[in-house]
Symmetry: C2
Subunit: 375 residues, 2 copies
């Protein structure tokens, strides 16, 4: 085929009274997960790779939804025939997280108890909850154990959490550009983004689904996020001090520099595809993420991962999830004498490098997975 | 005296038709500058040190306003008898910038043409304009040439601009934790802060002086600023993942981690002492700051500083104004074969280090100024 065409699927579960019990003790159900799959599950059902998406990602990790579709999935450079996650060999699965807004059950979904969108009646969810929901999808697909799980950023946290919570269900784990627990600085950036949404009068305590949504606040949150995804160097190369137009002394505070213009565009376009309440819930899940929760130490968290191999990847210019945070993960795994490889990739792209540094990631991941097949 | 008591002074100038001509060509007047002085001007009038404050600073650089005053000026650790800027030897001057809101003429001041606060009728000002206004103050004080000028952050930009615009009026320049031109990343952070203010419905296109001011927006801008002033390491040491209370799974998105609580407090308290329109104008001045404006290159900008000595100081963990930006300044000065010393101070405090790393700065600055006296 000219283009890899993929169709989203839906999986519904957790029908009351069998709701999903969340980490908070609250229950959520029914739940729909939207997911996509690539390649074929083999007869032994042991070639599945479960990919978790980042904050603003979705199930559409690769390929196109139609022949006329112009933009491929968010990690198309890494997922496909012959690519890092080779769909000629592996059965790749990616589901939109619970709490999200790209088809899976989230705050914009109808609350069966009220017949209205959940809004803030949606329960607080954690990365553990996100991962737990996806184990139901694996059961549904007949997969007891995945060959590998991976993801960048929040997706990397989910991959780590999957390994820690379900060590018997995964052979290889590739956390990328991520951390074992969110830093104070990252919580701070998330909090500012949430404040921006909450202070938008259109937010209306979360009840805006039949009204104008809090687009200004959500755009602002996205603008802040965007700055943290790029490196100082990338911003310098991409925009420098280039002006949008001629004039230097405008009052009114319109976008004057190209970088302002870019951020406004990015912020605005995000509001066209994302739900502000989902932004609140998912950033909160990231804030609450700490692999040591329920364990005596980070090393203890990995204690049960006896047969799991790990490949940890970080990027030199990623200041949102700096390499020292990946070292922490590596050291904790090493303390258990488990198999762990670590690759710090030279990059100027900042946190976004996990989406852009295709060549080095592909080489590293292919080697790691090939060795895993023979392990 | 038990406490160094200082009183603010006012200097009024630029009465129409002799307004200050701004870089934009627009005129501003009358202008009031609030300033404070410390120590005594000597008979030769050659022991003055002009200090420029940062974005949120004011004229109150050191000492106390009264015996009962609990908090000293913002750089009290560096300015006073026997300190880095030794008021036993030097006559220290610090004025609130035009465009500010701590007594000097800014957007909250009355526009003589309308009898109402300027708001957005206040003209766009630049760092050159800020510096130019202060030369009138020097004239007023009978000072032809200052022994030194200094400042951190925006204050460092002003010190550099003073040297470039008035090379004959300064002997020693100490730019600290600053840059020769604002980076794309910094413009981006400023832009997000401005958007936060502008999207606050209470901003009302700048006309809020008789109404509730846009405190939510200004607080948000300050929260973003605060994150950029601290290092990842400082935030980790200061807050880590410490919770404010017990509960982990709150909906409603109240501050849950100490770092959130701290930022909200800092943001809110800032609204008690700062004007949102001043925040817009001053960050815009910073964005527009580029020492090369009007020169062929950064090196050319320093060409006329023939008798000026420079000491450039940066801090290892300052990611807002990283050391490479200070190298740029140093190299440009060196290209003119002028005297320049450079000190990178080891610090974990991030950008705030210029307010906190007293010992190393004091040693370095004292040596530099002493050598300057004998030069």
């Amino acid at each position: 085929m000219a283009k890899g065409i993929v169709k989203p699927n839906k999986f519904a579960f957790a029908e009351p009274p069998n709701e999903l019990v969340l980490e908070s003790g609250e229950k959520l159900g029914p739940i729909t997960l939207v997911y996509e799959t690539y390649g074929s599950l083999n007869a032994n059902q042991d070639n599945a790779i479960l990919i978790f998406h980042a904050l603003s990602g979705d199930a559409h990790v690769a390929g196109y939804h139609s022949e006329s579709d112009k933009k491929p999935g968010w990690w198309d450079s890494m997922v496909g025939p012959g690519k890092a996650f080779d769909t000629d060999k592996y059965f790749v699965i990616c589901a939109n997280t619970i709490g999200g807004c790209q088809g899976s059950t989230g705050p914009a979904s109808i609350n069966p108890k009220t017949g209205k969108p959940y809004a803030l009646d949606f329960p607080v969810i954690t990365v553990s909850d996100m991962v737990k929901a996806q184990t139901y999808l694996l059961d549904h697909l007949g997969i007891k154990k995945v060959f590998a799980t991976t993801g960048g950023s929040l997706g990397g946290m989910a991959a780590l959490q999957f390994a820690v919570d379900y060590p018997e269900r995964v052979a290889n784990v590739i956390p990328i550009a991520t951390t074992a627990r969110l830093s104070a600085q990252n919580i701070a950036f998330n909090e500012v983004g949430r404040r921006a949404i909450i202070h938008d009068p259109n937010w209306n305590n979360g009840n805006y689904y039949d009204k104008t949504p809090p687009n200004n606040g959500l755009a602002l949150a996205r603008m802040i996020g965007h700055i943290t995804y790029l490196s100082d160097e990338t911003m310098h190369k991409k925009f420098g001090r280039e002006l949008k137009g001629e004039k230097q002394f405008e009052t009114g505070f319109d976008a004057q520099f190209q970088v302002e213009n870019y951020l406004r565009y990015k912020g605005f376009s995000f509001t066209q595809r994302f739900d502000a309440n989902s932004y609140l819930y998912i950033t909160k899940a990231a804030d609450l993420f700490d692999l040591t929760d329920g364990h005596k130490s980070l090393a203890q968290a990995f204690k049960k991962c006896k047969d799991t191999r790990f490949l940890v990847i970080s990027f030199t210019s990623d200041w949102l999830f700096p390499s020292y945070q990946s070292f922490e993960i590596v050291n904790a795994i090493k303390a258990n004498r488990l198999h762990v490889s670590y690759k710090e990739i030279e990059s100027t792209y900042g946190h976004d490098a996990f989406l852009l540094e295709v060549e080095e990631q592909t080489k590293t991941i292919k080697n790691f997975l090939a060795a895993g097949e023979n392990a």
